[in-house]
């Protein structure tokens, strides 16, 4: 097997130069090219699903249903939506002109940014690679994708399939780790789209700042779930379980990280969870094939350390089994761990679920507000007032009431973070917009000019301007444009 050539600064520079030439030549601008590329991506989803499922099983032990539904189906839908809507998205948007700019017409034209970089993550390696690429291509950009090296089978498959099907003069995949990413980040990109941890998010934005490159950062955080006693407990618990252990075994950016409920209600919640967990995963969850494993030993050790911490290990009320060789940790519930424990200080990203109890549900607002803004915040309740307050006052990327994670699949809602959980958004048209520059265009007429616009300025002109302001703010501009 040939040794892999190291991708360094020179390679990155040549890569960007090549892609820029393609972009400048207009390769990516036309509607036809974009549609062709999107259709090729659809073919990848349609013809290569078994290989994708196999790669995900290799990398993550991901169950077939999760791979098929949360990666391939979501992508298929995303591509189909783009194909259906692209003409609309590409069309200029008429802007309202008012008396201030009459006679004129104005529009906003979407244009591609140029050559963009998409850096993907390991937990949903296909979804988080191709979904942003769909946005980049729809918007008419040339794009380089760097998949995560922590999901090597997926990364290799992505590189192979994209090279096989897509136009390599404008779409490329660069595999690698820190060295390659660093080399890429030194180049000047027209946009960088990054999915990953907040820690690396800082690094990405700092690199982007050198070139004034705009960024979308899809990061993470501790997404809280507030459970009110006025809810349907069985449905609530099933949805939490499906959203946590049913989505890559808790290793997802919008995973329910911890639960907040009242001291009174907590025992009921725990009992219901235990019951449903057994229904879903059987009496021996370590044997269940319906959950992903932990991605690698580094993350296993990280999670292990959280569980083993003093004052945490004795708070386990369910699960806690670990198997390092097979990279498995059982679905684990903890009750009232200390707020300054490791497990409550960083995003868990694993199958551990702390439950924190409060005297009353009101306190949950303060708990959430005292922490960095998460990507998602969840609430289960029938109480309308509580729903309204929650939606209005809890700041998070997105809020979901009475469900978990599904908002990811909704192309009509922007998906992104705020504060530590990120900046920018995508999905649906928001993806197209994320990779576009919205250029303002004003068409003016050559006749009609008022002396008031130009020097020499006189007190008379000033008086005229002021008088107009006092009467009607809009008339001032009519005068300036020679219409009165």
């Amino acid at each position: 097997m040939a040794a892999k050539k190291m991708f360094g600064a020179a390679d990155a520079s040549i890569l960007v130069t090549d892609l820029r030439r393609s972009f400048d030549d207009g390769v990516t601008r036309g509607y036809e090219w974009r549609v062709t590329q999107l259709k090729k991506l659809l073919i990848i989803c349609d013809n290569h699903e078994p290989e994708i499922v196999a790669a995900l099983r290799d990398d993550l032990g991901k169950p077939e249903l999760e791979s098929s539904v949360y990666e391939v189906s979501l992508l298929r839908n995303s591509i189909k939506l783009a194909l259906k809507q692209l003409k609309n998205w590409m069309a200029p948007e008429k802007a309202k002109t008012s008396l201030t700019t009459f006679p004129a017409s104005a529009e906003i034209v979407s244009e591609p940014l140029g050559v963009v970089l998409v850096i993907s993550a390991w937990n949903y390696p296909f979804l988080l690679s191709i979904d942003p690429v769909i946005g980049a291509i729809s918007a008419g950009n040339a794009v380089v994708l760097k998949p995560s090296e922590l999901a090597p089978a997926s990364s290799a498959l992505l590189a192979k399939l994209m090279e096989q099907y897509l136009d390599s003069s404008a779409v490329r995949v660069v595999e690698g780790a820190v060295t390659e990413t660093t080399a890429l980040l030194e180049q000047k990109w027209d946009k960088i789209f990054y999915t990953g941890s907040s820690k690396i998010g800082h690094v990405i934005m700092a690199a982007a700042a050198k070139h004034l490159t705009p960024v979308v950062l899809e990061l993470g955080g501790k997404s809280p779930v507030v459970v009110d006693s006025d809810t349907d407990l069985k449905v609530t618990v099933r949805r939490i379980i499906a959203g946590k252990w049913g989505c890559n075994n808790g290793q997802a950016c919008i995973s329910p990280d911890y639960i907040l409920t009242t001291k009174e209600y907590a025992p009921k919640v725990i009992d219901a969870m235990k019951k449903e967990l057994e229904t879903f995963y059987g009496k021996n969850p370590m044997e269940s094939k319906d959950m992903s494993r932990i991605v690698n030993s580094t993350h296993f050790d990280r999670l292990s350390k959280m569980l083993d911490e003093k004052e945490v290990s004795d708070k386990i009320v369910y699960g806690g089994e670990k198997d390092r060789e097979n990279l498995k940790i059982a679905p684990t519930i903890l009750l009232d761990v200390p707020l300054d424990s490791l497990i409550m200080s960083e995003e868990i990203f694993g199958p551990l679920l702390p439950i924190l109890t409060l005297n009353n549900l009101e306190e949950s607002f303060d708990v959430i507000r005292s922490r960095p803004k998460p990507l998602a915040a969840y609430l289960f309740t029938h109480n309308k007032k509580l729903k309204e307050r929650f939606a209005a006052t809890v700041s998070a990327g997105g809020i979901v009431v009475n469900d978990i994670a599904v908002h990811l699949a909704l192309h009509t809602l922007p998906f992104g973070g705020v504060g530590e959980s990120g900046m920018g958004a995508y999905h649906g048209k928001f993806s197209f917009d994320a990779f576009s520059h919205k250029k303002a265009v004003l068409y003016r007429s050559l006749f009609g000019d008022s002396a008031v616009r130009y020097p020499p300025y006189s007190r008379g002109k000033l008086r005229l301007l002021k008088a107009l302001v006092d009467s009607n703010i809009f008339d001032i501009f009519k005068v300036l444009l020679g219409l009165s």
Binding site: E64, S73, F280
Partner: protein, 484 residues
């Protein structure tokens, strides 16, 4: 500086506390604050004009047209539109999710920082301030030390009109900015040069703070003599107004240089000369209608640009400089070398290079060799040329047959791309600029589908696959047991 550090920390603490109290969420509060800005400007017109005259020698008519009038209008629009802007946007969700509901609400980021500039020190401070307040944030404004009188006015008068616990002003230069940038802000809005823009973004990266950077560039003006010769008088006046009529060329959207076919260059110059005289008389220095250059350093910079012997040789009008009086004469250059410094940095002064081309179509090629500017101006009636300009160049905005006026059209986003900036504002875009678009999804606890939950089996996989494809008929067949 220790005192300044403490002032900043105390200010931040108070603003965060005010934001947490919820006071700025009320639309009534926001309108009252913006109304107070309106009153402040109206009550203090003379003081403001006097400050601008002292800082920049700005004539009161120019001051009103470019600064006070802009702020008054911006405030009026915000007050009249805020109710509309703050309405949540409802999203249609796919049938699969029925009866779930989705919407997007705009929520304030929190405590934001506005860093203003010296050339339009009133409007570039108050216009972003209006946006920040409209969106419900608490805000700290740092005005520019290079316009000390305007800065002092703002520092003294804003506290007299606005809620001092929520809106603060700090005066000072780079050392104060450095202190401010060490802290975590929820958003930073900066107007200034690309060089400083990079520093701002790098500082923001430390805290994952989203930024809007309103920067600059060389705004080219294409004059397609063929197709506009009938209206050449208007064209010349507009170009002259766009170069010398607004802060003596020291505006981010000033006409930087002109592109015209060689055979028409001299007639253009012959028309510009008397136009300049009609604006400023025989002695522009004494006209009172031409703004001054900001500081001696800025005069020296412009002087240096002119001192290049090849550039000296290209002067066809003007050229005189009086450093003491901060005066640079309206100057026209004919074909300075394209590799001279003056043709490779934003001029930001009253010097107008005229670059000749054989065919006006070549101007597009020249524009593309330079970083993307904030605006491109083109005087033409040739539809083909218009299309080429729109599709082959990239800039914040394009205005046909006028200059500068796009600034007043608040249905158009105002912002740059590439080196000319990130983000945009004006009108509703100001509100959006300072808001986080939070997605809210509400599911129903009533309808629950078993297929959503483990343990997985083929039935569930097929069900979900069909659901995602929105193949509802097939889904019903499946549920009725009529599909395998």
């Amino acid at each position: 500086m220790e005192g300044m550090k403490e002032t900043v920390e105390e200010s931040l603490r108070e603003m965060r506390e005010t934001f947490a109290s919820g006071r700025t969420r009320s639309l009534k509060w926001r309108k009252a604050q913006i109304g107070a800005i309106y009153e402040m400007v109206k009550d203090n017109e003379d003081k403001i004009c006097s400050a601008l005259f002292q800082d920049l020698g700005k004539h009161s008519t120019e001051a009103f047209r470019d600064e006070l009038g802009v702020v008054l209008r911006s405030a009026t629009v915000a007050i009249n539109s805020l109710d509309k802007w703050a309405v949540p946007k409802h999203s249609n969700l796919p049938l699969l999710f029925y009866p779930a509901k989705g919407k997007v609400i705009s929520e304030p980021y929190g405590t934001v920082l506005v860093l203003s500039s010296w050339n339009f020190p009133i409007s570039l401070s108050l216009d972003p301030l209006i946006g920040a307040i409209a969106a419900g944030n608490t805000v700290l404004l740092k005005s520019s030390e290079l316009s000390p009188n305007a800065s002092a006015f703002l520092a003294k008068t804003i506290p007299a009109y606005l809620d001092t616990k929520a809106i603060k002003v700090i005066e000072g230069g780079p050392d104060v900015a450095t202190i401010l940038l060490q802290h975590q802000w929820d958003k930073i809005f900066f107007t200034g040069s690309p060089k400083i823009g990079r520093i701002i973004m790098a500082a923001a990266a430390q805290h994952l703070t989203p930024v809007t950077l309103e920067l600059g560039g060389k705004c080219p003006t294409i004059v397609d003599h063929h197709t506009i010769s009938k209206n050449i008088k208007s064209v010349v006046k507009r170009i002259a107004g766009g170069k010398w009529g607004s802060c003596s060329g020291q505006a981010c959207i000033s006409v930087d240089y002109v592109l015209i076919e060689k055979s028409y260059a001299s007639s253009l110059i012959d028309m510009l000369k008397p136009t300049i005289k009609s604006f400023f008389g025989e002695n522009p220095k004494e006209s009172g209608c031409l703004s001054r250059i900001a500081t001696k350093q800025h005069v020296q910079r412009l002087s240096r640009l002119l001192n290049d012997p090849r550039v000296q040789a290209s002067i066809v009008y003007g050229g005189s400089i009086d450093e003491e009086k901060l005066y640079v004469e309206p100057t026209i250059l004919l074909d300075p070398p394209l590799d001279s410094e003056i043709m490779n940095e934003e001029i930001f002064g009253p010097i107008l290079p005229i670059i000749t081309v054989r065919d006006i179509q070549e101007s597009i090629g020249i524009i593309k060799t330079k970083p993307k500017p904030l605006a491109i101006y083109a005087f033409t009636n040739d539809e083909n040329l218009k299309t080429r300009i729109l599709s082959e160049t990239s800039s914040g905005s394009v205005t046909f047959n006028d200059v500068m006026i796009q600034y007043m059209c608040d249905a158009l986003p105002f912002g740059g791309v590439g080196e000319s900036g990130i983000g945009r504002y004006h009108g509703k875009y100001s509100f959006d600029c300072f808001s986080h678009e939070k997605a809210i999804m509400e599911g129903s606890l009533g309808m629950d589908l078993d297929a959503r939950y483990p343990p997985w089996n083929n039935f569930k996989l097929t069900f979900i696959r069909l659901a995602f494809r929105e193949a509802y008929f097939k889904l019903i067949l499946l549920m009725l047991g009529l599909k395998r």
